[in-house]
């Protein structure tokens, strides 16, 4: 159970934005190549297969939270200790 909980499932905001951008670019690119190739050899099924390959690649690259999508974690403030909050506020950078 500890092992399962230790699998990271989280992307930071920057990472989510990049993951979405990458998936859009990959699928659009494969779709464009697929339609050109399918038109050249006059087989629409090849277009569909190439698009499916693009979908799989995008799924592998952007669905799991790879480390490159976790490089900019949010800088949370330190947990304040007790009720003497005034001094720590001034020290904040």
């Amino acid at each position: 159970m500890d092992f399962i909980n230790s699998i990271p499932t989280h992307m930071d905001f920057e990472g989510q934005s990049r993951a979405e951008k990458y998936s859009r670019v990959i699928i659009t690119l494969f779709g464009a190549v697929g339609v050109i190739w399918g038109y050249i050899i006059q087989q629409f099924s090849q277009t569909v297969y190439i698009l499916a390959a693009g979908f799989l690649l995008a799924a592998i690259l952007t669905i799991p939270p790879w480390p490159i999508y976790r490089r900019r974690p949010l800088q949370w403030q330190k947990v304040r200790s007790g009720d003497s909050g005034e001094p720590s506020k001034k020290k904040k950078k």
């Binding site: 989510q16 979405e20 939270p65």
Partner: protein
């Protein structure tokens, strides 16, 4: 985009939208093509009999028999938006009781990749040439035409008429002998 399921949903939805757009491109690239082409046909043997039509009224109706030749090359009609052609041969004629009679005598499916250069000699019809009365005997103008349906991946299901037709006459006497 904050969870695995949400990302999966988003890229699947986007991939399917792209697929719909590509299918539209496939349709748009073929919608204005001219699918008409030339077909030569000829009748070889034409007889007409007067026999009871048990499938309808049991009255004696005219039943035509004919064999035909057909030559056409349809291989250039196939493209990435044509899965198959459905050919059908129609006889069109006028009788005193009906201004327009149309009877389908024969049909054929050609899948993409199959031989589309047709050269048939002395073919029998597949379907009975019944008239709904006695309009075939001595009919001077029966016209055979070849048409086809294009079955596409995406888009319209057009009915195309070939260039070229053949007109023939039925004999003025019924044939009574067995054939």
């Amino acid at each position: 985009m904050h969870s695995v399921l949400q990302r999966g949903n988003a890229i699947l939805a986007y991939a399917l939208s792209v697929l719909a757009f590509l299918t539209f491109l496939c349709f748009a690239s073929t919608v204005f093509l001219d699918y008409r082409t030339k077909a030569d046909m000829n009748t070889v043997k034409v007889v007409v009999k007067n026999v009871p039509d048990y499938s309808a009224s049991r009255e004696k109706n005219d039943l035509g028999f004919l064999t035909f030749d057909l030559q056409t090359d349809l291989s250039h009609l196939f493209n990435w938006n044509v899965k198959q052609l459905f050919l059908y041969l129609t006889a069109e004629y006028e009788t005193p009781s009906n201004q327009l009679n149309q009877v389908v005598l024969w049909d054929k499916i050609i899948l993409r990749g199959e031989n589309a250069v047709l050269d048939f000699k002395n073919m029998n019809t597949k379907y009975y040439f019944w008239d709904d009365g006695n309009g075939l005997k001595g009919n001077k103008n029966v016209t055979l035409t070849l048409s086809w349906n294009i079955i596409p991946n995406a888009g319209l299901l057009p009915n195309i008429f070939s260039h070229g037709s053949h007109s023939f006459k039925f004999p003025v006497e019924y044939t009574t002998s067995r054939m």
